[in-house]
Symmetry: C2
Subunit: 332 residues, 2 copies
């Protein structure tokens, strides 16, 4: 098809879009009609209205989302750690020395206190032992199988059911307005990619995360990528703008996070020229989810909360602003 | 707009597409009606026809392209080296010691023989000195300014005019059939991103390349990403499948290269399940471009050419298969 024909088809699609769009219902029904929701919508209207001084061409409408605590829950500890513990248990027969060796012993026994006492180094050791050693294709299958069977202890739900309904609506709303939505997570990139499209509508090529190194090898004449027990990149704090630049190559115009690990991503995004949006999701609902901020070990929100006021970022109060938490909840 | 309305709009667009598409002219007029062209078209038809056993859903239609020698020329040496030499000359006043120090002296004097004699280490030193030390925003401007003024010695054209017209048509043809087109280049990622959309229709987020490390810093309260004189990733040979996995997270179904640096990318792509396409562009036209393969220092094509036969990859003979080389050429 030539360019003219394509443009005509696009134009016709646009006509239908405008006509049908006008009859649409509230695009974000799980959000109460409060300040945070209104500021998000106002931002989107400003950057998508061609008559607005804040208009941004569609190609530059990049929105980045943290995952843990922003798109899904992260308590009592990051869901990736549940995965690692389950992997230790699945692999212990092949590694019997783990039964007496920390932090593996703690993982096998479900002793989370001893696990946390192992510190960053111990956790890293756990991640390496459970995330490396397979090919990339094999690992994707392991993740899919785990996600289909593992259950969160509090809700007895699959982990990918614990995604925030209001954020799903927000993702759809942004994409309906020409945004490209990306995940920029401290979690492992290969632990996310097998399921983010189904859960969030975000395809693998728009997922950025922490990673271990991989190596290209020939096995029986077939090329494979082997996962190595070596850190490649930690996509957290100062790493997030670095990874955004590496993967996206454009500065986002909107960033959504929930913890100090997202501080630099929000700084980087909102310091760009023109209108920008920074949003922090604040965990304030111990009844439907969890309440934590400045003192939390997981998902600490302290410095970023202070900067939110200075820099005019939107702070979403989950308890007040959301009438529904998870897709399986009914609206309150 | 809700999902139903969006689907309806898509359907109407599709109707127009089909109707108008049937009246379209040859989508790749710069390709002669030879075997290589026909095999490419046959592949695209097979993977896009819903009735075909080889059908691939649109989201999985990933096509990757090497850049140097595949989408634009790479002789008498990689265009990035022209950039580095020009940068040395622009920076010599601030670095007077370069006047007597190799490989900088050779760059200043245009002594390419001495430059090549500096070997890989010397060239790396040259790249570091000329590619690091600025912020990412500053570097993008430097690249844009260079590209707007620098000229290729043989053609007296801007370097981004030396792109292959048949490949531009191929990129359009693939995108018209729902492919997402990516660059996977051994060249510097930040040297590509400022201009690939205009030249190839490939946006920055679909460009993968070699890179140096960047560091997030605050300068006068403003966040910047500083380019460090340290290799981050070499996107060549075994690195290409690794980078494809890191950036795209899916295995491509089609890969286009021209040298042994693309061998592993083609192996990785074509070893996937289902129908796959591997294409090598062979430089056979010393009159309109250059002729080189097994013995060339730049863009050597040797092992990959042998494997092309074994693995059924398409080999494009530029001299025979293309009736036009660059956009400024008239068809022959």
């Amino acid at each position: 098809m030539n360019v003219q024909a394509y443009r005509l088809a696009q134009f016709v699609a646009l006509l239908f879009y405008c006509f049908l769009g006008s009859a649409q219902a509230d695009p974000m029904p799980s959000w109460n009609g409060v300040d945070s929701r209104n500021r998000i919508i106002e931002f989107v209207q400003a950057v998508t209205d061609p008559a607005s001084a804040d208009f941004v061409p569609e190609a530059e409408r990049i929105a980045v989302f943290d995952n843990d605590g922003t798109l899904w829950s992260e308590q009592p500890y990051y869901f990736q750690l549940f995965f690692a513990i389950d992997r230790v248990r699945a692999l212990v027969d092949a590694n019997p020395q783990w039964k007496t060796q920390q932090p593996f012993k703690a993982a096998i026994e479900g002793d989370t206190q001893a696990l946390m006492a192992a510190g960053e180094h111990g956790l890293l050791e756990l991640l390496m032992a459970t995330h490396a050693g397979t090919t990339t294709d094999e690992f994707a299958i392991i993740v899919e199988e785990w996600l289909a069977t593992a259950r969160h202890p509090r809700f007895d739900r699959r982990f990918n059911e614990l995604v925030f309904q209001p954020m799903l609506e927000l993702l759809d709303y942004l994409r309906d307005h020409g945004f490209k939505t990306w995940i920029v997570s401290g979690g492992g990139i290969e632990l996310l990619r097998p399921w983010t499209f189904e859960a969030y509508g975000i395809p693998p090529e728009q997922v950025v995360g922490s990673s271990i190194k991989t190596r290209f090898e020939m096995r029986d004449g077939q090329p494979v990528l082997t996962r190595m027990p070596e850190i490649n990149f930690i996509d957290d704090k100062e790493g997030k703008p670095v990874a955004i630049n590496q993967h996206i190559g454009r500065r986002p115009i909107a960033a959504f996070g929930n913890s100090d690990g997202d501080l630099q991503m929000l700084q980087w995004t909102t310091a760009g020229k023109g209108r920008r949006l920074g949003v922090l999701i604040r965990h304030t609902d111990s009844e439907r989810e969890w309440a934590y901020d400045r003192e939390s070990g997981v998902g600490r929100l302290d410095r970023a909360l202070d900067e939110a006021t200075e820099r005019g970022w939107v702070v979403v109060d989950m308890q007040q602003d959301w009438n529904r938490m998870y897709p399986f909840d009914t609206a309150k």
